[in-house]
Symmetry: none
Subunit: 416 residues, 2 copies
Amino acid sequence: MDATIITIGDEILIGQITDTNSAFIAKALNNIGIRIKEIRSVSDDRNRIISTLNDVLKPDNLVLTTGGLGPTSDDITKKVLAGYTGAQCMVVSEVQLAIIEEITSRRKMPMSALNRAQAEVPDTCEALLNRLGTAPGLWFEYNGAVLVSLPGVPFEMQALMREEVLPRLQQRFQLPPIYHRTLMTFGLPESMLAECIAPWEKALPPYLKLAYLPNPLTGVKLRLSAYEVQQANVAEECDRQVRRLRRIIGDVLYGEEPDTLEQVVGRLLLEKGATLSLAESCTGGAIASLITSVPGSSAYFKGAVVAYDNAVKTGLLGVTEETLQTHGAVSLPVVEQMAVGVRKALKSDYAIATSGVAGPSGGTPEKPVGTVCFAVASPSGVHTERLSFAADRTRNVVRASANALNLLRISLLKNS
Amino acid sequence: MDATIITIGDEILIGQITDTNSAFIAKALNNIGIRIKEIRSVSDDRNRIISTLNDVLKPDNLVLTTGGLGPTSDDITKKVLAGYTGAQCMVVSEVQLAIIEEITSRRKMPMSALNRAQAEVPDTCEALLNRLGTAPGLWFEYNGAVLVSLPGVPFEMQALMREEVLPRLQQRFQLPPIYHRTLMTFGLPESMLAECIAPWEKALPPYLKLAYLPNPLTGVKLRLSAYEVQQANVAEECDRQVRRLRRIIGDVLYGEEPDTLEQVVGRLLLEKGATLSLAESCTGGAIASLITSVPGSSAYFKGAVVAYDNAVKTGLLGVTEETLQTHGAVSLPVVEQMAVGVRKALKSDYAIATSGVAGPSGGTPEKPVGTVCFAVASPSGVHTERLSFAADRTRNVVRASANALNLLRISLLKNS
């Protein structure tokens, strides 16, 4: 079963907003066994919408549109679809009208003709109740195809998908199973990982497709997909393949989507009943931001010292002037003292420290831009490491933060 | 001049990633006078890519693709475009090869055959140098159209657009003038700002179009656009309009794109020769991340204490147990002590402190999720403020960080 998503709206084509609706819809449809063949974004233009529908609307197909259902004159989707499907007249959805009345009275606004018109739908479709907004969804059965039109406001569209569209699609179509499993890895760049697991990849059963999705923050994701295969068997086969993969790459495999490094280290810390503190120089608070993005992180996160100025390194963290003079701020001895110092000052079990040259300036021949020193202090000692990145400032900070979390993860695994 | 964007990748069609590349490209092309007719997302599938190209590639048109240029077997864009444009052989881009060698040696990896193959491009195109990654961009002149293929990794694609694609497009096509000016405001919600500047908006010359672009981090942007009008005159008229606007909204107007709040406060601190430190609780390092994202911020940023645990608030920042007990961690007296404490401990001229309920848990009837207390300590005293947001955790942290920077900005302006 194939589907096409059409997002309608000038704001997408001028780059004013990022289209997040397509990803939500695609994921939701995939989960119930519908594959997206294509996503198209077109402007609020009658001819463009019609020619796109002519292109993609085929018997037994599903086409989902978002956008252009608002009350203002630039919103034309409903009118265009009425004409396209040969509607004779517009019909008022009384339930939707009641919701519109409730919304306007809650906002203490008068009920305008524009508001009332929002409840009207073409007589060629069924209205899908929008509890969170004024524009109902539209469900057309047209030439053997299903055409669904949803509002572009993300939270309204999402509720309509969950409450109306997905249940109807599961009733309307015989849907084959689709199975996805996404494995999270960190520590091997894409090409090295690919070489390392090539024999494993070759030995995968032919119905399991593998895709590599590299990301500087999460590491390389490995996605296994199976189409039109019995779910239970696939799940079992995937379990087996994951075990095989772990034998090859070990702790490089850190979880499965939606796991993140910050969640995994949080979980490991919780399991141990251990606490964490940070001493950040070049990462400037980015690691603390990641750690605290996890709800409930206050259970294991004590806090951080962002020591941008060397005076903060000596004053709050106990880095000695001598070490700074001898080795420079970007050095293994300094990050070691930072990690030990913050662990002591904030009374935590574990601590990470970073110091590096984020760029664009500050590089030297021995310590070029992208050089970052890391230290992880744990109850069993301090591990230090120096890595080299070379992208721009933002990216160096992202990569340094991810690598710091990964070093902590490895340390937590070793200490168990 | 019309263009089509094609994003290639299964991960978009299964909803695993949100396509942010299209919005970036659309905006960049719009800025130089190229309109996007359509955006299409298709899978890593030979036939789909070819039929899409057949659809959209017309003489005198521009087609931009992203994705599918990676080294692994699921990346097929380069091969498909080679076939499509009738390439006879692959040619090694020596400059790209040198960059690949540099990247692999920096990462202390052996140079693999996969790495080396990344430097090869079809003989029907020109290689566009990718300084930040291994996959070069591809520039084809084909049947009177221009077809550009870029890697899908956002920062690589962005650099290629800026450094290679945009300058070449401006050379290659006769582009009509488009003039954009984007004014940055912070402190008034969109609807209030709109009411406040309605008379100004009405008095704008008809060729100047105004758009409101609200954003939780940067505030509401006001974009003035003029199409096909003499640039010099428009610039002058815009200057005049900006002066008029400033008379109405004063310091709510904080700059023009690409200014950000963190750059503006950085500039103000530099002008004064003043320094800054932070004491972050609920923002968890997010303000420090923003401040340090500005190159050169080490000139005025001393550092931060992320005081997640109350023991850090008392131990490092000198918040008294009594104040914590009497008022709670989320209170004006506590953030005042935090700001004064970090200013003293890190010996800075200015300091910001935050404490709040980021959510999803931790809310109470008096201090619901989204409650945030702020303090700005300056040489002339401490200003405190309590604000209420109500979105989810991520969004609360973003809004709190932006408001903290804005309070600092106002304090810096007052102290001059």
